[in-house]
């Protein structure tokens, strides 16, 4: 796994972005960038050469699920690994995210261990 990969963290709460960025830094990922909802994230993804997207679900403007769908619909972004980190735990929603092509799903509140495990799993699969 490339520790220098460019990661976009999308969450409408700045504190949650800060927590995720700190955890990622602890795991050795320092090339992290932030957006506060799907509408700001999408243009960044389209031009920013990102390697990994970590997104919340419930955000004003454009939600995480819509962002995921937009990413999968864009030929240049379609294969971008996406990890959802969200408080949404409804069965239907998780199924919806899976159908939309999410690569991992972490529910809040989460631990550093869970985050690390899901990220390794995603990139093991991408590499394999």
């Amino acid at each position: 796994m490339d520790k220098n990969m460019k990661i976009l963290v999308v969450d409408d709460f700045s504190t949650m972005r800060r927590i995720i960025k700190n955890l990622l830094r602890d795991l050795g990922f320092t090339n992290t960038h932030e957006a506060d909802d799907g509408l700001t994230a999408l243009p960044m993804l389209q031009t920013g050469n990102f390697d990994f997207l970590v997104s919340d679900w419930n955000m004003p403007g454009m939600t995480g699920i819509d962002l995921l769908k937009a990413v999968r619909a864009d030929p240049n972004l379609a294969s971008l690994p996406v990890l959802m980190v969200t408080a949404e735990t409804k069965r239907e929603q998780i199924i919806q995210a899976a159908e939309a092509g999410v690569n991992g799903y972490v529910i809040k509140p989460f631990t550093a261990g869970t985050l690390e495990e899901k990220i390794s799993k995603i990139f093991d699969r991408v590499a394999g």
Partner: protein, 242 residues
């Protein structure tokens, strides 16, 4: 027998109505029409009238209730204001804590790295594998590390105290939220009474077309099929081929 009497009576009335209409006697026709439903529907009209009056009175009573008036005019906007303040307080506490943690982590890391380095050299000294000149350098390093450790410990202590104090938000927000809960219960009670009077016992479930966001799972609140923890989510995803 009775049925026949009523039917013949209606037939007579109907004939009279046709006759008056053919004769162009509007007044008579109207009188006959007005007489028609009188026996049949009078009770129903009366009942509807009574219910309407009761509901009307209940609504007036509800609106005139001082508590409700106060709740709607002052306490509801207050409650919204209070809850907004809760968000602000929790956000501030989170930021204070995060700042302290972000400051502390590199400090702790420096302590760890320096002490590891010194420990390795100390081992060399204890194993009598150190030249005198190296020992002098080590002695200086130890002196430097002790100063650094003292300063860094103070920084860590200060930051941990900040984290400790920042937790005070829980008490303050808890008190505010409890007041809002009391208000909601009170208004809920009044509304339930109003609904009971209006007789609307069955509230039709609104059919949802799309999957709606549910937000964080809350104990004792009906939220549909919620998963409890990360393991359940992982199980569901693996059953879907993840």
């Amino acid at each position: 027998m009775e049925q026949t009497i009523i039917d013949s009576e209606r037939l007579t009335q109907a004939r009279a109505l046709v006759a008056s209409l053919e004769a162009g006697d509007d007044t008579e026709a109207t009188r006959i029409i007005m007489a028609f439903p009188e026996n049949v529907e009078k009770d129903l009209f009366q009942e509807v009238g009574r219910l309407t009056r009761e509901l009307h009175e209940a609504i007036i009573g509800f609106a005139m209730d001082d508590r409700v008036l106060q709740a709607v005019q002052h306490e509801m906007p207050d409650a919204a204001e209070r809850l907004a303040y809760v968000i602000e307080m929790t956000e501030n506490a989170a930021n204070t804590t995060l700042k302290a943690v972000e400051e502390s982590m590199p400090v702790a890391e420096e302590l760890l790295n320096d002490s590891n380095k010194l420990a390795a050299e100390w081992d060399r000294f204890r194993g009598r594998k150190m030249e005198l000149s190296d020992f002098r350098a080590l002695s200086d390093e130890i002196g430097g590390f002790l100063t650094l450790a003292s300063g860094h410990s103070k920084v860590l202590n200060k930051n941990l105290s900040e984290v400790l104090l920042a937790q005070g938000y829980q008490d303050l927000t808890g008190q505010i939220i409890r007041r809002v809960i009391t208000l909601i219960h009170e208004v809920e009670e009044k509304l339930v009474r109003l609904v009971a009077i209006s007789g609307a016992t069955k509230v039709q479930a609104i059919k949802k077309e799309e999957v709606e966001m549910e937000g964080p799972a809350v104990p004792n609140v009906e939220q549909g099929d919620m998963l409890n923890n990360q393991d359940d989510v992982d199980d569901l995803l693996s059953s879907l081929g993840f």
